[in-house]
């Protein structure tokens, strides 16, 4: 406030001082100029007068001298020049201008007779100068030189340097300005001090006091400085403060009480608002949860309903509507087992009710019932759900609890599993059918994994080990088929896993003396890898035997044809020999020769007869044979010959063996043949153990050598006609033996181990049989 007042005062003072200063300065400037111009007039007049005479006299040099004098003596003269009527400089203080055309402004006007004066800029230096052009008029006196035709003879040009005037002017201005500033400042300071002491300080105090009051500080009195207006104002103010203070005290008390009340109310209000908010949120959450819960139940694929603790229906979903045909709106809120009616036809407890209380009658009524924790599972039949058919239902019931863990209700889901059950049964039935089919197949079927472990097999396969199929799982296939001691490798099984293509092979199982055709087929996983293989072993023993029989029959026919063909020439030879012998022959050598021919023909005939017998067309002579005796007679014949080959025959005859019926000569041929084979198997010598034993219906003869043994491959082919491993063998020996033994209703088998030897086992029936038809 005070500052503003002071500013205004200062501003006014400033303006006044400035105006005064300017006015003074302008006035003085004018005076200075006037004086200078007057001076210039005087000087120019002086010069004009001064040059008048010399001009009249025509003394030009004087003019020049005068000019120079003036210029030197009179300070402030810049230049003095005399120009002729054309404007050419005739004489000048500045010698350089002489004879030059003057460039002065308004020269043309001056040459016409006007006197020109004023400030001009000096053309060369740019200096401000005062120029005066005075025309020199033609006078009578001048006619002598200048003639009379011209009015104006020339122009005198005087230029004044106003430097001095400018300096004077500047000094004047500075002085004025300084005076103004000093006075201004003095006045300002004095005014300030005065104002400050008499007005600003008391007012400021008053303002402070008011400010204090405004801020509630009423416990103060402003010091009363004087008796002027401000002083009285202060006193009034002080009194007012006292009054206000009293009033405020009263007001304060009231306000405080009011405030307290308001605060309490606000606090209560805030709490309330908060609680309402919280509740609203909780309610919203609850609503959301309830809606979600309802939606979940509603769209559960299983028929589902919920009851509260009063066993009234509170939820009944779409699937339930479809299942029972009862709409949600018709059942919600209903109790008294109304929900069981569609299932049982009557209102009665069902699974969900067992959550609330156990009920043995209901529990036992189910075809399946189980309690797992607090959940119940049951399977039941419903005849009322679908007209005319029984539906199998699978139900789950579970309790629902409130926040305090008290039972609040229960939920039950029901699923129609009729189709599922039927399918399951169908599958089980199909599986059973397949199992039976699988087990009914006589072929030995097994499925093995990559490690040759049995995954599954049928009865026929399990019978190899005299076990049940389930006991075979995990066992090694080779161990089962060949026995654990045999080291057998199968190329085809490897091949089936490698190539993924079905493989075939024929194998001979020595232990059981059977031929099998093995088919190995791959089983792929979804990635196309062979993970397992189905191995089917088809018993082809009978086929093999049939083949053998067929071969033997062919052989028989061949032999018979051959016999006929050979017998004719033989008969011719022997006939001729006999006829010759009937002649009288003196030469004993011829007689001997003929005799040998006849004998050899007889031998050839015998051989042929044996071949014929082999083909079963020979004449059988069936007798009761003592096997031991029969063997003994053969052994006694060959013993000596065998000993020459370092082969020892050891007899282990069983005692009291019953007789067998057959053709002794044929059987002896078999013994002979087998013994010869045994010897051939021991090129460096060895032993042959001949053992006879008997069972209830068989006599068993074992001829065991200590020879080189046979491989499985050889073993599988030994009975084939014309199959031989010997350099000079015919391949007929064993097939003949086989034929003979079969013909006697017996068995001929071999057991062999490479490097250890071979045993030929002949079994002949004790009861007579198998030979009569031969």
């Amino acid at each position: 406030m005070s500052v503003r007042i002071m500013l205004i005062v200062f501003l006014i003072l400033f303006v006044v001082f400035t105006a005064m200063t300017i006015m003074t300065t302008v006035r003085q400037t004018e005076l200075i100029w006037k004086r200078n111009l007057e001076e210039a007039d005087i000087i120019s007049d002086l010069i004009l007068n001064g040059i008048r005479y010399p001009m009249l006299t025509g003394d030009q040099d004087v003019i020049q001298r005068q000019f120079d004098n003036y210029a030197q003596n009179k300070k402030g003269i810049d230049a003095i020049s005399l120009l002729d009527h054309r404007g050419v400089v005739m004489r000048s203080t500045d010698r350089s201008l002489i004879n030059q055309m003057s460039l002065a402004d308004n020269l043309d006007l001056a040459l016409k007779g006007s006197e020109i004066q004023g400030f001009v800029k000096k053309k060369r230096t740019g200096k401000q100068i005062f120029s005066r052009l005075v025309p020199i008029r033609n006078e009578q006196k001048c006619y002598a030189c200048h003639g009379s035709e011209r009015n104006i003879l020339g122009v005198l040009r005087i230029t004044l340097d106003l430097e001095r005037a400018f300096v004077e002017l500047r000094d004047l201005r500075i002085r004025s300005l300084l005076l103004a500033i000093v006075s201004f400042l003095a006045i300002v300071v004095l005014l300030n001090i005065f104002l400050f002491r008499t007005v600003i300080v008391p007012i400021r105090k008053l303002a402070e006091g008011m400010n204090e009051v405004a801020h509630g500080n009423l416990n103060q009195q402003i010091l009363c400085a004087g008796s002027d207006e401000i002083g009285s104002l202060t006193r009034i103010f002080n009194k007012m403060i006292v009054d206000i203070s009293t009033l405020i005290e009263k007001e304060k008390a009231l306000t405080a009480a009011e405030q307290e009340r308001k605060e309490k109310l606000a606090s209560v209000n805030a709490d309330l608002v908060l609680e309402i908010k919280e509740r609203r949120k909780a309610e919203e959450r609850l609503n959301t949860a309830y809606r979600q819960f309802s939606d979940i139940i509603e769209f559960l694929p299983d028929a589902t309903f919920v009851i509260d603790r009063d066993r009234k229906v509170i939820a009944w979903n779409k699937a339930m509507e479809e299942c029972t045909g009862i709409l949600k709106r018709d059942i919600i809120g209903k109790g008294d087992y109304a929900y069981s009616v569609p299932f049982y036809g009557i209102a009665r407890p069902m699974l969900i009710d067992l959550i609330f209380q156990s009920d043995v009658e209901t529990e036992t009524g189910y075809s399946f019932f189980e309690r797992k924790g607090d959940r119940l599972y049951a399977e039941s039949l419903s005849t009322t759900l679908k007209e005319g058919s029984t539906v199998i239902l699978w139900a789950i019931a579970s309790p629902l609890y409130d926040n305090n863990g008290a039972l609040a209700g229960a939920i039950e889901s029901v699923r129609d599993v009729t189709q599922l059950k039927q399918n399951e049964e169908k599958i089980l039935h199909a599986a059973k059918e397949w199992r039976i089919t699988f087990d009914s197949i006589n072929d030995l079927i097994s499925i093995i994994d990559r490690d040759m472990g049995i995954v599954r097999c049928n009865n026929a396969f399990a019978a190899l080990s005299s076990q049940k199929p389930e006991d075979m799982i995990g066992r090694n296939w080779f161990d089962v088929v060949y026995g654990p001691t045999q080291k057998v490798d199968s190329e085809i099984i490897k091949a089936v896993f490698l190539s993924g293509r079905t493989q075939f092979e024929e194998i001979f199982l020595q232990e059981i003396n059977k031929f099998y055709e093995v088919t190995a087929s791959p089983i792929f996983d979804s990635a196309g890898t062979v993970t397992a293989s189905v191995l089917i072993l088809k018993d082809i023993t009978s086929r093999k035997e049939l083949q053998k029989k067929e071969r033997l029959a062919q052989l028989g026919k061949l032999v018979a044809d051959m016999a006929h063909e050979v017998n004719n020439p033989l008969m011719i030879i022997s006939g001729r020999a006999q006829l010759s012998l009937m002649e009288d022959i003196d030469n004993p050598e011829i007689k001997s020769n003929l005799g040998i021919i006849m004998d050899e023909c007889q031998r050839a005939k015998d051989i042929i007869q044996r071949l014929l017998k082999f083909s079963r067309r020979g004449k059988n002579e069936i007798t009761a044979i003592d096997v031991n005796k029969s063997l003994d007679s053969i052994i006694s014949i060959i013993e000596h010959q065998f000993s020459l080959s370092s082969v020892e025959i050891r007899k282990h005859f069983g005692e009291g063996l019953p007789p067998v019926y057959g053709d002794e000569r044929q059987l002896q041929e078999v013994y002979m043949n087998l013994l010869s084979n045994a010897r051939d198997a021991m090129p460096t010598g060895g032993t042959i153990d001949v053992t006879t034993t008997c069972t209830t219906n068989m006599v068993k003869i074992t001829l065991k050598d200590s020879g080189m043994g046979m491989s499985a491959e050889v073993m599988s082919r030994i009975f084939e006609p014309f199959y031989t491993t010997k350099e000079k063998g015919t391949g007929l020996g064993l097939s003949v033996c086989y034929g003979i033994i079969k013909n006697h209703g017996g068995e001929l088998n071999f057991v062999s181990e490479i490097g250890k030897g071979t045993a030929a086992i002949i079994q002949l029936p004790i009861t007579r049989g198998g030979t009569e038809n031969g």
């Binding site: 018979a560 006829l579 004449k619």
Partner: protein
């Protein structure tokens, strides 16, 4: 003097038998052809015996025997065979009333033949 018919497709065998039986003082008629044998059997009533080879081309021994049975020609017969293989042979022979005793297996022992011839001729007489 008994008259014996020898039938065998093998000429050399026929010769041997002819020589032997002639030497043994039998009258011998022989042929290598079955058809001829049948006609001889029908025509020559003086025949006392026939020795027949079983296996011959075209008309076989068994065919001759069958014809004889048809025509009621009853003669003692010795059957020669190189192979005693086909059961049918024996069965056919047995059907016609012949048996093991009427059969000789080639190559035959001539003395055995003679014994059998004598025996059969003796029986008949």
């Amino acid at each position: 003097m008994a008259k014996i018919l020898i039938v065998d497709d093998e000429v050399e065998i026929v010769r041997i038998l002819e020589k032997f039986l002639t030497k043994m003082s039998y009258e011998v008629v022989s042929t290598s052809d079955g058809e001829k044998a049948i006609s001889l059997l029908g025509e020559d009533k003086s025949l006392n015996m026939a020795i027949l080879d079983m296996k011959m081309p075209r008309i076989k021994g068994i065919d001759i025997l069958k014809t004889m049975a048809e025509r009621n020609i009853t003669l003692p017969v010795i059957v020669l065979t190189g192979s005693f293989d086909e059961e049918k042979y024996l069965a056919d022979l047995q059907k016609l009333g012949y048996g093991h005793d009427d059969i000789l297996l080639k190559p035959i022992d001539l003395n055995e033949l003679l014994t059998m011839v004598k025996e059969k001729l003796g029986k008949k007489t």
